[in-house]
């Protein structure tokens, strides 16, 4: 999975200029895809020395591995994943699931206009996940962590009003009782037609015990229910 930097520290660390933000990512991503597809690489770019008949080791086990382009925010960045012809990973915080459908549609549309078959490209979504006995309890247990985590990463907390709306079945935030979360994931699957969902649980200092309990719930309740609907 490869995404654009959301922090500037890397640029200083590696000696790059923040001005080349977009160019750098496009070039590095292109090289990564190239290395993935070709055992011997001949490549030239702006930001590093050219590669001549270079073998990059180790090789992926089955010849090549899926490289997902990580996308957040606007449909415009989803479109770029489509033009590049790679699988897309879409991150979401909160808000109606239908908003994120726009990005997925834009991605598939861009795939098609670049001559790819959208049916061959998997989509993954990723966002907050937490279950407890009841939705109220799940919200109580997770809000302080999400609020604090947002404060530390972005400098601003998560408004309670927005968080409360997260309990709505139409909202993309998978926080609630196991049954409600199962129904949300199924609704999202119906809407997005995605192949993978990444549950983000470890954010803002959720305790290890609670993480273990959630992983257990995924295995014992969530996955079996989802699989009942998704198996062909």
């Amino acid at each position: 999975m490869a995404g654009r930097a959301s922090r500037v520290g890397n640029f200083e660390l590696l000696g790059y200029s923040l001005r080349d933000y977009e160019d750098l990512f496009e070039e590095k991503f292109d090289l990564l895809v190239n290395i993935n597809e070709n055992e011997v690489v001949n490549w030239e770019g702006k930001y590093r020395a050219p590669l001549r008949n270079a073998r990059v080791l180790p090789r992926p086990q089955d010849g090549s591995m899926p490289i997902w382009r990580a996308v957040g925010g606007t449909p415009a960045s989803a479109r770029k994943a489509g033009y590049a012809g790679v699988p897309m990973y879409l991150a979401h915080l909160g808000g109606p699931a239908t908003i994120f459908k726009r990005s997925i549609d834009a991605y598939r549309d861009a795939l098609e206009s670049s001559g790819y078959n959208p049916a061959e490209f998997p989509v993954s979504t990723a966002g907050f996940f937490y279950t407890a006995e009841t939705t109220q309890q799940a919200q109580r247990e997770t809000y302080p962590h999400i609020n604090e985590g947002m404060k530390r990463t972005n400098g601003q907390g998560f408004p309670k009003q927005h968080f409360a709306q997260g309990a709505d079945p139409r909202d993309v935030m998978n926080i609630g009782s196991p049954q409600e979360v199962i129904e949300k994931i199924l609704y999202q699957h119906e809407l997005f037609g995605h192949q993978r969902y990444i549950a983000q649980m470890d954010f803002g200092g959720v305790t290890f015990d609670k993480l273990k309990r959630n992983i257990d719930t995924i295995g014992s309740e969530v996955l079996p229910a989802i699989r009942k609907y998704t198996k062909k």
């Binding site: 923040l18 919200q139 109580r140 972005n154 400098g155 601003q156 309670k160 409360a164």
Partner: protein, 188 residues
């Protein structure tokens, strides 16, 4: 309550003079609130390059973080070329899009011409609104003739500054109370 008084220009003295009056009045009338004056002329601020405000260092980091920690901001600005100065606009550009969410922002302008009266209404308010500020609707507009050797000589201006200070504090307390009441309704 934390209040930041932001003097938005690096040239001239009138805005700073007016902000000094404002800060003095705030400290006298509301001694329990913490008031911080930021005069951009005292700092070396870089242009926004789009990074998160927490990642700026030095003066830029100090100013962005101090503003973000405030409950209320009183912005003082001169009018240059029928607009706000670039130094002030840069401060907005350094901050997140919803930087003023849960903050009250009030305004004071000094100008060389009465024709500039609506500049704040038409140019500053839309920026503050976009950034989610609760705006104190009435602002103080001060003209050249109201100043004499770095003092404000028009008593009406002094009265208006006092009302601006009161309105800023009252609105901030009110919005804080509303927010606390609303937040208390949620059981998380």
């Amino acid at each position: 309550m934390k209040i930041v008084a932001l003097s938005g220009s690096i040239v001239g003295s009138k805005t700073r003079t007016a902000m000094d009056y404002t800060v003095k009045l705030l400290s006298e009338k509301y001694p329990s609130h913490k008031v911080t004056l930021i005069d951009l002329a005292d700092y070396d601020i870089q242009f926004s390059d789009g990074r998160n405000y927490l990642e700026y260092e030095g003066d830029t980091g100090y100013v962005t973080k101090t503003i973000m920690e405030a409950d209320a901001i009183i912005i003082g600005t001169p009018i240059f070329q029928a607009s706000i100065p670039a130094t002030l606009k840069n401060i907005f550009d350094l901050l997140p899009v919803n930087a003023f969410r849960d903050k009250v922002v009030s305004m004071l302008a000094t100008a060389g011409s009465s024709k500039h009266f609506l500049i704040l209404e038409n140019q500053l308010k839309p920026i503050l609104g976009y950034m989610k500020a609760q705006i104190v609707q009435s602002y103080v507009f001060i003209e050249q003739e109201d100043f004499q050797r770095k003092e404000i000589v028009n008593h009406d201006v002094l009265f208006r500054i006092e009302r601006l200070v009161d309105d800023t504090v009252v609105l901030t307390e009110t919005y804080q109370r509303i927010r606390e009441e609303e937040d208390a309704k949620y059981d998380f």
